[in-house]
């Protein structure tokens, strides 16, 4: 199922460095935080690419770059063949319309003083061509219906809804401009377990209905597996492994992917004593000062001299079959292994 349709998003060598400054009156740049540091991938129409990785590895910064909410330091984002950085006028407007976002926190991402109707209909203010003024109310009510909310609640305020319902409001707003791509940054993390499944089902139904492509950022690896066609694993601003869901989950080849997967608790107590677990020591290093060579080497149990000297490129490695950024990549099923 990997490539369902034509290429819709091309990300090439994308870099975002935030300046690290010192001094209060006169700010001096003393370095930079390498939040996203050379990320490339493709996304096809109707496809879901999951993005996983530890806190601070650059997932949200990547999302903001895709949304043009941040300007890249270098690299490019092409949406349906048009370069985000150089597009102007009507082209730029079209690109922006075509890629929308659903945020993590349903409690803070909606303006509390706006009604649901205003929130969902706000994108029409900028893109009036999608819904002429007279049609808007009806359009918004249709959108509420699509995401499973009562269209009669159009005049209510966010605080009158539960977390799961607010996330639906955020999704309705994301759908308003009929985009082809939706970037979901932790869309279910703040929700209760019993509500998460409802929202995931909704996202999947909308994808089928409208042929949407998703970038799905989440830290719950089982949710990511459920929804994704392909998965990219990030570590300190870089993609260290990318492949089909089965390739990443059943045959992970990068030590970091293996450690990440083995750390996920399995919701079944049977055999828990004999499960293989790779417990990483310490925290990820600071993105202001990443290790030379392979960025994972300070926590890697397989590290050799070459790992400090030579950066392992994200490429297909012998015996692996999908791109992996490790000199010693070796497929190994950690989830089903017992040791």
């Amino acid at each position: 199922m990997a490539s369902k349709g034509e290429l819709i998003l091309e990300v090439r060598d994308l870099v975002k460095h935030f300046p690290l400054t010192q001094g209060i009156v006169v700010k001096r740049q003393i370095g930079s935080i390498k939040a996203v540091d050379g990320v490339s991938f493709d996304l096809h129409r109707g496809e879901t690419l999951g993005i996983v990785g530890e806190s601070g590895c650059g997932k949200s910064t990547l999302a903001k770059l895709l949304m043009a909410l941040e300007t890249p330091t270098s690299g490019s984002v092409r949406v349906a063949g048009k370069d985000l950085a150089t597009a102007k006028g009507a082209d730029l407007k079209r690109i922006r319309r075509n890629i929308q976002m659903v945020m993590q926190d349903p409690y803070t991402s909606l303006n509390p003083r706006m009604t649901v109707g205003d929130i969902v209909g706000e994108p029409f203010e900028i893109h009036a061509e999608v819904a002429p003024k007279g049609d808007r109310r009806k359009k918004v009510q249709d959108l509420l219906e699509v995401v499973g909310l009562n269209p009669d609640h159009i005049n209510r305020y966010p605080h009158q809804f539960s977390g799961g319902q607010r996330q639906r409001i955020g999704i309705a707003r994301g759908l308003a401009l009929q985009p082809e791509i939706i970037v979901c940054d932790e869309p279910v993390s703040a929700l209760d377990v019993s509500i998460q499944a409802q929202v995931i089902n909704l996202l999947e139904r909308l994808q089928d209905e409208f042929g949407l492509a998703y970038i799905f950022i989440a830290h719950d690896l089982s949710v990511v597996r459920h929804i994704s066609d392909r998965v990219a694993v990030m570590y300190l601003g870089k993609v260290v492994e990318i492949g089909k869901d089965t390739e990443i989950y059943d045959r992970p080849s990068h030590p970091y992917t293996q450690a990440l997967l083995s750390a996920v608790p399995v919701p079944d107590p049977e055999g828990r004593e004999s499960r293989e677990r790779i417990i990483l020591q310490g925290d990820p290093p600071s993105p202001a000062n990443p290790p030379s060579g392979c960025r994972f080497r300070t926590r890697c149990w397989k590290a050799q001299e070459i790992c400090a000297q030579e950066e392992p490129l994200l490429q297909i490695r012998p015996g692996v079959g999908h791109p992996s950024a490790c000199h010693f990549a070796e497929a190994h099923d950690v989830v089903h292994a017992t040791g």
Partner: protein, 346 residues
């Protein structure tokens, strides 16, 4: 509408015959708020033996933390009030003790790790000072001896270079390290019971694995009993001996961990387990419990789960289900637990 209470002899007790170390019995906690009386805990019962890990599972607002705060004796009263129930530690009802006697138990015999370590630690004191304070106040140690103990504990919870970092402030540590410092403080006085309230919810899975391993190791070393509050079905499956599932301020199911995952006896537990994404069901719709968690200001009549329950019958709307004993170690607050166990939907 009857309000069922539970005798402790109905509580799961793996060590039948030995009295539990800690027993919460028919606990009720309510809060006076502007909107009205919030009945946050409506008859919670669970028990714990030395060395045991009890996982308390439930979604946010189900009363997990309020129960824990009642055990610790850290609820502000008012607005909180405990109209009914007992919390017995080694047979003594803590609710009947003087404030002074309770503060002796707090920290020394029963200690707690909070979800949000950053707000639980004092930002204006160094972590070393905060850990050492435990030893100065409760053990009457000298400043120097207390600091030495603090460094030893930081080592024990594997803070790298503990000696160099003892004078750092909480904000200078990562989330995972702050949680280790919280754990260091909580185990400082060798408590018999440790309550860990969502200790890893804010952390990455890799750090979560480190913290859970640390807690298991500390528990093995000292035979400490642990109440692990969480909403993560994976974490529960990994570490719990037994489970108490909460819904709308009540325990709906009490059981040994293997039994629950093999065959849940309450429709809510069953729904939660079924909504976990499974590899063999990829591409299919996830099972989802319909509807919303209950509003404590406007609780459904009868069984609080009835508006969402696929097993509901007419009496569920009117009669509160008592905690039925299924076996010596299991109970379920469902009129139709037999049907649920057999998987026969009503």
């Amino acid at each position: 509408m009857k309000n069922p209470s539970v005798d402790t002899h109905l509580l799961p007790a793996d060590n039948l015959g030995t009295a539990p170390l800690l027993a919460v019995d028919n606990l009720h906690v309510e809060f006076k708020t502007r909107q009205g009386l919030v009945r946050a805990v409506n008859g919670v019962s669970y028990a714990l033996h030395a060395g045991e890990t009890l996982a308390v599972l439930g979604e946010s607002g189900s009363g997990k933390s309020v129960t824990a705060q009642a055990i610790m004796g850290i609820l502000d009263m008012p607005p909180a009030n405990i109209p009914k129930g007992e919390i017995r530690f080694r047979g003594t009802d803590l609710l009947k003790l003087s404030d002074n006697a309770r503060s002796q138990i707090r920290g020394q015999q029963i200690a707690m790790v909070f979800q949000d370590a950053l707000s639980a630690l004092n930002p204006v004191f160094t972590v070393g000072w905060q850990i050492a304070e435990m030893f100065r106040v409760h053990r009457g140690m000298s400043k120097k001896a207390a600091y030495a103990k603090a460094i030893e504990l930081m080592d024990r919870v594997r803070i790298p270079a503990a000696r160099q970092r003892v004078n750092d402030y909480p904000h200078q540590f990562s989330g995972g390290m702050r949680q280790r410092i919280m754990i260091a403080m909580s185990i400082a006085l060798d408590p018999e019971v440790l309550i860990a309230d969502e200790p890893t919810t804010a952390l990455d899975v890799t750090v979560q694995a480190q913290i859970m391993e640390l807690l298991a190791e500390l528990q093995r070393d000292s035979n400490m009993a642990m109440i692990l509050i969480t909403h993560d079905l994976g974490v529960v499956a990994d570490v719990a001996d037994k489970i108490a599932v909460m819904y709308g301020g009540r325990i709906v199911e009490n059981a040994p961990v293997h039994d629950v995952y093999k065959n849940p006896a309450h429709p809510y537990t069953k729904g939660l387990l079924e909504s976990i994404p499974r590899v063999d069901l990829k591409g299919q719709e996830l099972y989802a419990i319909k509807g919303l968690p209950p509003n404590l200001l406007d609780m459904p009549t009868g069984c609080a789960f009835h508006p969402r329950c696929p097993y509901r019958q007419d009496d569920c709307v009117t009669d509160v289900p008592p905690l039925h004993e299924i076996s010596g170690t299991r109970s379920s607050a469902c009129h139709y637990w037999r049907e649920v166990l057999d998987g026969v939907q009503g």
